[in-house]
Symmetry: C2
Subunit: 217 residues, 2 copies
């Protein structure tokens, strides 16, 4: 049974280790959590005592199997709650995160599993991220950035890389969301802008935008 704080750390370690392989550095977790490096070191020791991470002084941590399982259980809850908030409680993409951060700590297996059933066993959350199932297994399907999609090939929006409210609201205004069909019509070499087909409308987006949208080809 973990405290709120240890759960936050495990989740942060999991996420950082996903985006960059190898051991996770003290500073990277400090940034993610919003704590000072010295606090992170303290927590690393605590997690190590509980065999949730392997910790080597001056060389960061890596999750043990038990640590990975604990992290996935939290991520499972987080993504199920996000799905619920969007599908039944009228939350938008950009509003769910803060609340899901709280809900992910609720301890009740029955609650999690019943919520999953109620949502009809969703495989992905509103940001397009995969939801671990009861056995903590998740389907990671082949996702690429919109910028990498070949011209004239059809894709479907399945998520975003940048989760900032600004970006999510920008996409909402352009009527781009999970499931929107996307296609690159033309790449402008001059300024790297793109003309795209998004659902039924055609519009122009910048390179930066195209680098932050995930699509399934």
């Amino acid at each position: 049974m973990q405290t709120l704080s240890t759960e936050d750390y495990l989740k942060a370690i999991y996420h950082v280790s996903q985006s960059s392989p190898g051991a996770v550095a003290t500073t990277s977790i400090a940034k993610q959590i919003g704590a000072k490096p010295s606090s992170v070191t303290d927590m690393f020791k605590k997690l190590s005592d509980q065999n949730l991470v392997k910790y080597q002084k001056y060389n960061g941590v890596s999750l043990t199997n038990e640590g990975i399982k604990t992290a996935l259980r939290i991520i499972r809850k987080h993504r199920l709650w996000e799905s619920f908030l969007v599908s039944h409680l009228n939350f938008n993409w950009d509003e769910v995160h803060q609340v899901a951060e709280q809900l992910e700590h609720i301890q009740s297996e029955k609650l999690t599993n019943e919520l999953e059933r109620f949502l009809d066993y969703p495989t992905h959350d509103p940001h397009g991220d995969p939801i671990p199932n009861r056995a903590l297994f998740m389907k990671t399907y082949n996702k690429i950035l919109l910028i990498e999609l070949p011209v004239n090939k059809e894709g479907v929006c399945i998520g975003v890389k940048d989760n900032s409210s600004d970006f999510l609201r920008y996409l909402d205004r352009r009527q781009i969301g999970i499931g929107t069909p996307l296609q690159i019509l033309h790449r402008e070499d001059f300024d790297d802008s793109l003309h795209i087909q998004a659902g039924k409308s055609t519009l122009m987006i910048t390179k930066k935008t195209a680098e932050n949208i995930y699509v399934k080809p």
Copy 2:
């Protein structure tokens, strides 16, 4: 913005003050919370500093208006979540409490209000207790104990006094729940047992049982 602990105390103070008028004693909160009286004294001081209670040494506390509002906000969330768990997530009477104790601390006005809308503005939770509305007002309808119901007068089960799992499961087995019509057919003076009509079946219950069921006449 309160901590988990202060929220628990405010709720406990509210409940105790409802069942016995006047100032709330240190010991009664200690029992309710499961803490030592000395810890309760500490917390009383903290709550007093925040103007959530009025505290007089050696004479317990009483909630200020601000304290009452805070307590009601928590109770509102608790009862809405209990309703959700029972109506949509297959929880039973006796399983909801522990989970709702956690969920009641989630901070998001939008979440609370959307949940209320999703549940279609329920006025009472699965134990028959009234749910404060957005303005923190609740309808407390005229409820009496089954033992006080005159013979042959019809009533409807609206809740219970004893919330123990044992009792709730006992009622489940007898098919008595919220909304079940109840009627006393005969009082046995010899051993204080009662013959009652519960829905479509007639059964015998003890005095103790009848003292723990609330009915609306």
